[in-house]
C-alpha cells in the first residue's frame, strides 16, 4: 500500500459513513501478512484465525486511537503480536506447561496446512525453543525483514535491545543445528 493510499484510508476512518468500507480494505490488505506472523508464533491455523479476528476487532473498536504517527501496518502488527503473546501466556497459565519443541514438530507433521521439508521442520523446532518475545523478534526479522525502527514500535522495545535479542536468537538456532549435525 502506497503512503498516499494509506493516507486516504486514514482520512476515511474519520468519516462515519465511509469508515466501515475503508476498514474492509484494511482487512483485505493486511490479513495475509498478519496471519503469517501470528501463525508462525502459535503454529495452529485455528488459533491463528481466532487471534487474527481479535486483532481486527480490537483495531476497529480503537480506531480513534490510531493517529497516523506510525504506519498503519506497524500499528496492526503491534496489536497482532500482543494478542499472540497474550494467547501464549494464557495457554501457559492454564496448562501450566510450555509446549515442548518436539511436540510442536509432531503437531506440524500432522498438520495438513504445513508443507515444510525436514530442514524447515527443524527450523520450526529450534524457533519453538526460543522464549516467546525473542521468537516474535526473530520471526519479524527473519521472515518479514522488518526494520528495527518499525519493530521497536511493534514490540515497544529499544532498537538496541531488539538487535541483541535477534542476535541471541540466531545464535541459539545455530547451536541447535550444530547439536543435531
Amino acid at each position: 500500500m502506497t503512503p498516499a493510499e494509506e493516507a486516504s484510508l486514514i482520512e476515511q476512518f474519520s468519516q462515519p459513513a465511509r469508515q466501515r468500507k475503508a476498514f474492509e480494505q484494511v482487512v483485505r490488505q493486511y490479513s495475509p501478512q498478519l496471519y503469517r506472523q501470528i501463525r508462525r508464533m502459535v503454529y495452529s491455523h485455528e488459533d491463528a484465525n481466532d487471534i487474527l479476528q481479535n486483532t481486527f476487532i480490537k483495531a476497529w473498536t480503537n480506531l480513534e486511537q490510531f493517529r497516523g504517527e506510525s504506519k498503519l501496518s506497524t500499528w496492526l502488527y503491534r496489536i497482532a503480536v500482543n494478542e499472540a503473546l497474550n494467547f501464549l501466556q494464557r495457554r501457559k497459565d492454564t496448562t501450566a506447561i510450555d509446549e515442548a519443541p518436539a511436540a510442536v514438530v509432531g503437531r506440524l507433521r500432522a498438520d495438513a496446512y504445513f508443507d515444510g521439508d525436514e530442514a524447515e521442520l527443524q527450523l520450526q523446532e529450534a524457533i519453538a525453543g526460543l522464549p516467546e518475545k525473542q521468537r516474535a523478534v526473530f520471526l519479524l526479522k527473519y521472515y518479514e525483514d522488518m526494520k528495527y525502527e518499525d519493530m521497536s514500535r511493534v514490540m515497544d522495545t529499544s532498537v538496541g535491545a531488539l538487535k541483541a535479542s535477534y542476535h541471541h536468537a540466531v545464535k541459539k538456532i545455530c547451536d541447535f543445528f550444530k547439536s543435531r549435525d
Binding site: V27, S31, R40, F56, T61, F114, D115, V170, F177
Partner: protein, 127 residues
C-alpha cells in the same frame, strides 16, 4: 551476519504454513459481518434532549407551596391585626368582599413568580 547466512542456506525463508483455499476472502467477509457498530467518540455525539417540562412542573409545584406558606403567614398576621384593631386594614377595606380571596391568590402567585399558564399546564399535563 555469518550465523544468519548459515540458517538461510540451510532452511531458506520460505513460509511453510498454508491456509485453506479461499480462506482470506471468507475471513474478510465473515469478520465484516461480525464487526460491532462503532460507538461514537466522546465529544462528537449529540447529547440526548432532556424534556424541560417535568423539571418546570417540579419548580412550579415548589413555588406554589412556598407561595401557599407565605399566604398562610400573611393571613394569620392579618387576622391577628384585625382582632387587635377591630377593623379591616385600610387596603383590604377598599377591596370588594367577593374579590378578596382572588386578590390574595394573585399577590401570592406574583410573589412566587408562577404564571397562570404554568399552573394550568401543571394541572392538565404534569401528573
Amino acid at each position: 551476519m555469518k550465523e544468519e547466512d548459515f540458517i538461510r542456506k540451510r532452511c531458506g525463508n520460505r513460509d511453510p504454513f498454508k491456509v485453506p483455499e479461499g480462506y482470506f476472502e471468507q475471513f474478510t467477509a465473515g469478520l465484516m459481518d461480525r464487526l460491532p457498530e462503532r460507538e461514537e467518540p466522546p465529544g462528537l455525539s449529540v447529547p440526548r434532549t432532556r424534556r424541560l417540562w417535568p423539571r418546570m412542573a417540579r419548580y412550579g409545584v415548589a413555588a406554589a407551596l412556598c407561595g401557599a406558606m407565605l399566604w398562610g403567614t400573611f393571613c394569620l398576621k392579618t387576622s391577628r391585626t384585625h382582632r387587635q384593631t377591630g377593623a379591616l386594614p385600610a387596603q383590604t377595606a377598599e377591596v370588594p368582599a367577593g374579590n378578596l380571596e382572588e386578590t390574595y391568590i394573585n399577590d401570592m402567585l406574583d410573589y412566587a413568580m408562577v404564571s397562570n399558564q404554568e399552573i394550568a399546564l401543571y394541572l392538565t399535563e404534569a401528573y
